[in-house]
């Protein structure tokens, strides 16, 4: 029953060369995973790194395009969900799958209800659940309605449900995202107990402090590939962070290009010099901002900063630490809980999107397919989205001015193909992003929120967008740049802030920053006194 006695046997999970594509998106490319019996294995990586897809293949929800999956030494590639459950694999999803009107016991036995004759033996179900609850330390009240549970309790029910079905390999998808710190500690106790009883646990997360605390072995994924496999005892947070956000060849080339641009660098230096003398006038200032997330958690937890004209403040951080909520609150898309936001001298804390635009705010949103573009609208119409009032007189849109604006922007931002009547959907990702950039930067503005401005675009478009951002800085605009690419932040920003769990843990001049320095702040192993 001890872990050492089982290490000689075949691994609990062995995945090799897994490829999986959805349309033209490659979620997994030659990904691999090896999990031994009786270990807590952390699967880490940023959003979109392919962790969930890999686990869906393990759980039988997806079939791999290529590669093999072995469980306990048996090749089970391409199995179904029912095969996976029968083989003892239990997946606890991020979004709970419980019936709120049923009790805890009813939910746990659902699908395998104990029968007394033809009747459902509820008393027996309660007894079973209570026994299981005692054995595992997962404290629940068997006769309570699920709708009355806290998220932490609901999660315990989910885990009990998989254990009741005989799960020996437990997969937990971002289990701590919804938990409070004491609930997280309780969960760790349970997971250790399950492991010591011979269970195998795979934990998907991107919070590195948790990984260090709970896991035995770590597998790092990035862009669909397995980057490395580390033993937790023999690694450091910095090493894991580097593996997670590490650079690739294209990125290195991009940064080199940025640095050889001597003219821009000179400009920047000149502007930075200017601020120190006239430091008072901030283009954007944010004070003690608190923003709640969709789940009622404090996603932005008291953030204060300001950006001067002609300055780029880079915001680094592992995704999911409040950057999205911060940008949405600044743009007027999410309500502010407390604190204030000023553009120039104007307080815009409670202004709507349109009023903030009028105050000089431009916003390149992180998701162009959801927010930034209306994919079925023409390029010309997309180029006036958010400015429709400007392009209308007496309630009627001015087609001639919209067309003229489109012509100007298409030329200025080199949008291809240069046709204003095509739907935005038909453009390539890079050109779609250029439409967004053209709209937001091809107008009068003083403050630019640039969120993941080069995500998913080709290298040529990246260069183009970067040089536009530098030009805007030279023209005296204040820019808040949020990027998952550390190199992008390092190449463009004058100052860099790191966000961790809703707070700015440091703000430093870009000259003092490097991947290693930022990495430690990003994973929360270091923070400056606020």
């Amino acid at each position: 029953m001890t872990a050492s006695a089982e290490t000689n046997q075949s691994p609990a999970i062995l995945m090799r060369g897994i490829d999986k594509s959805f349309g033209s998106v490659r979620a997994n490319r030659a990904a691999s995973l090896e999990v031994l019996r009786g270990e807590i294995h952390a699967l880490v990586g940023e959003n979109g790194a392919g962790k969930s897809t890999l686990m869906r293949i393990l759980g039988g929800l997806q079939k791999p395009d290529a590669g093999t999956l072995e469980v306990n030494g048996k090749d089970v590639t391409g199995w179904t969900t029912s095969d996976a459950i029968a083989a003892g694999i239990g997946v606890v999803h991020q979004h709970f799958m419980l019936v709120p009107t049923l009790t805890v016991a009813e939910n746990i036995v659902l699908g395998q209800e104990p029968k007394k004759g033809v009747r459902f033996d509820y008393a027996w179900a309660v007894a079973e659940v209570e026994t299981l609850s005692k054995e595992t330390g997962l404290v629940v009240r068997a006769d309570q309605k699920v709708s009355e549970l806290s998220v932490g309790e609901a999660q315990r029910v989910e885990i009990l449900k998989t254990l009741f079905r005989g799960a020996k390999i437990l997969v937990l998808d971002e289990p701590t995202a919804v938990l409070s710190p004491p609930e997280v500690r309780d969960l760790w106790v349970v997971l250790r107990r399950l492991r010591d009883a011979g269970g195998t646990i795979v934990l998907i997360t991107h919070r590195l402090d948790e990984v260090i605390e709970i896991s035995d072995v770590i597998t790092v994924m990035r862009a669909g590939e397995t980057v490395t496999r580390l033993e937790t005892g023999k690694t450091t947070p910095a090493e894991i962070a580097k593996a997670m956000v590490g650079r690739d060849v294209a990125l290195a080339a991009r940064q080199a290009a940025g640095l050889t641009d001597a003219g821009d660098a000179g400009d920047a230096a000149q502007h930075m010099g200017a601020h120190t003398s006239a430091d008072a006038a901030s283009a954007l200032s944010v004070t003690d901002l608190v923003v709640m997330g969709s789940r009622g958690t404090r996603e932005v937890d008291g953030v204060t900063f300001s950006i001067r004209p002609g300055e780029i403040l880079g915001l680094a951080g592992v995704e999911g630490n409040g950057q999205t909520e911060l940008i949405e609150a600044l743009a007027g898309l999410r309500a502010v809980e407390s604190g204030s936001i000023r553009i120039g001298s104007r307080d815009v804390t409670y202004d709507n999107v349109g009023q903030r635009r009028d105050a000089g705010l431009s916003h390149i949103p992180e998701d162009r397919h959801r927010r930034g573009l209306i994919l079925d609208y023409s390029v010309a119409d997309n180029l006036v989205l958010g400015r429709q009032r400007e392009f209308a007189s007496r309630g009627m849109l001015d087609g001639a001015r919209i067309a003229a604006n489109a012509q100007t922007q298409i030329e200025a931002f080199d949008i291809r193909p240069p046709s204003s009547s095509l739907p935005a959907r038909s453009l390539s990702g890079g050109n779609q992003q250029k439409v967004v950039v053209a709209r937001e930067m091809g107008r009068e503005f003083t403050v630019l929120l640039a969120s993941q401005p080069t995500r998913g675009v080709d290298v040529g478009a990246i260069e183009f967008i970067h040089s536009r951002i530098r030009e805007a800085r030279a023209a005296g605009k204040a820019i808040l740049l949020v990027s998952a690419e550390l190199n992008e932040v390092l190449a463009l920003a004058d100052r860099i802030a790191v966000m961790y769990r809703g707070r700015f843990v440091t703000v430093m001049p870009a000259a003092d920053a490097s991947e290693d320095v930022l990495g430690e702040y990003m994973i929360g192993s270091k923070k400056d006194a606020a």
């Binding site: 349309g23 033209s24 898309l333 709507n352 959801r370 573009l373 429709q388 309630g395 990702g429 998913g456």
Partner: protein
């Protein structure tokens, strides 16, 4: 600009034409199963509708109401909302028009009386449309549920009003209106004698034109379509999504309500229980077949009106219900080809690529 118009036109016309072809094939099979020749039956159907003035007049009359309800439903769909309440809104509009008309005397000139009654119809339908709009905005109540339920409430309420308060003895209709009647077509074209066709169809055509202008040329239309396509992007573009929802459902109700004038002001000159007669529900099919484009809606309204009137003409050869089956086939065929419906059914989804 011309090529853009052409693609718009293709988008508007292509699915209905395919649907028509599918319906024709299914219709052939159905007719043959009754031992009749499809050619004969279709000839009769056309002769009884487009082939003589009376039949054509009836088609125009039926198409007018369907155009209003079709436009109403399509406006909602453009905003991403499914208004299933056109039936109740149509009845409420008809009743309101009659109610206004009853309080006017024949001394009131038509130039004042007709607009007053029309306004009454639009307001009546608009109020019924505003209720789901308000509930959606305020409490997040789903408009489909609310509009379906409101149909029962409104129709029962009107039935109660007619049966217990404002009716002519022994009937289920109101007295005749004092003023506000819209002239029938046979007043200037005697050939249409006996058909219910009246100048309400001009109002329908103007409404369609205004609807097109609103949707594709006005700022509010730009915002409304944006909300319908991508609410998150609309919100990002400074559009009040809730405002658009409320406005769209109210306007949709008003247009459906305006449809009530066809019967009340143009045909019978009184409100009668059961006036809507399913035209509100058929408006959903009209909107879908018409691809939610005002021009398409007009064509689809004519098409469904032809089927409905044609059903009477071929009664001797095949059961009238066959035409209803055909309508069902058309709706299903269009449902498969209309992007809006496909999106709902999650078919033919293009993967979003970076």
């Amino acid at each position: 600009m011309t090529s853009r118009f052409r693609t718009q036109l293709e988008e508007a016309l292509f699915p209905p034409i395919i649907a028509l072809l599918i319906a024709l094939v299914c219709g052939d099979l159905l007719i043959m199963s009754y031992g009749q020749s499809p050619a004969t039956v279709y000839r009769l159907l056309l002769e009884g509708t487009w082939g003589n003035a009376y039949g054509f007049g009836q088609v125009l009359y039926k198409a007018t109401t369907l155009a209003f309800t079709g436009l109403a439903v399509s406006l909602g769909i453009r905003a991403g909302l499914f208004n299933v309440g056109a039936e109740g809104q149509l009845a409420a509009g008809g009743f309101a028009a009659a109610f206004v008309g009853l309080h006017l005397t024949s001394a009131v000139p038509w130039l004042i009386a007709i607009p007053l009654c029309m306004m009454g119809a639009a307001v009546g339908g608009g109020i019924v449309g505003a209720v789901p709009g308000y509930l959606r905005v305020k409490f997040g109540a789903h408009e489909v549920i609310v509009t379906i339920m409101l149909n029962f409430i409104v129709l029962a309420l009107l039935n109660w009003l007619i049966a217990n308060h404002i009716h002519v003895e022994e009937t289920l209709h109101t007295p005749e209106i004092g003023a506000g009647a819209i002239p029938r077509l046979d007043a200037f074209m005697p050939a249409f004698h006996g058909s219910a066709a009246n100048l309400s169809m001009v109002v329908a055509a103007i409404t369609a034109l205004a609807g097109w202008y609103y949707l594709f040329r006005s700022r509010r239309g730009f915002e409304l379509r944006a909300v319908g396509l991508q609410p998150d992007a609309a919100e990002y573009g400074g559009v009040s999504v809730r405002g658009v929802w409320f406005r769209a459902l109210t306007l949709s109700g008003a247009i459906a309500g305006l449809g009530g004038i066809n019967y009340v002001l143009g045909y019978k000159h009184y409100y009668e229980d059961g006036l809507a007669g399913g035209a509100g529900f058929l408006g959903i099919a009209v909107a879908l077949v018409g691809r939610n484009h005002p021009l398409g809606v007009i064509i689809a309204a004519l098409f469904f009106a032809t089927l409905s009137q044609g059903g009477l003409a071929i009664h001797a050869f095949v059961p009238k219900q066959m035409v209803e089956v055909l309508q069902g086939v058309v709706i299903l065929a269009v449902a498969m080809s209309v992007p809006e419906v496909r999106r709902v059914l999650r078919l033919g989804r293009k993967p979003v690529t970076a």
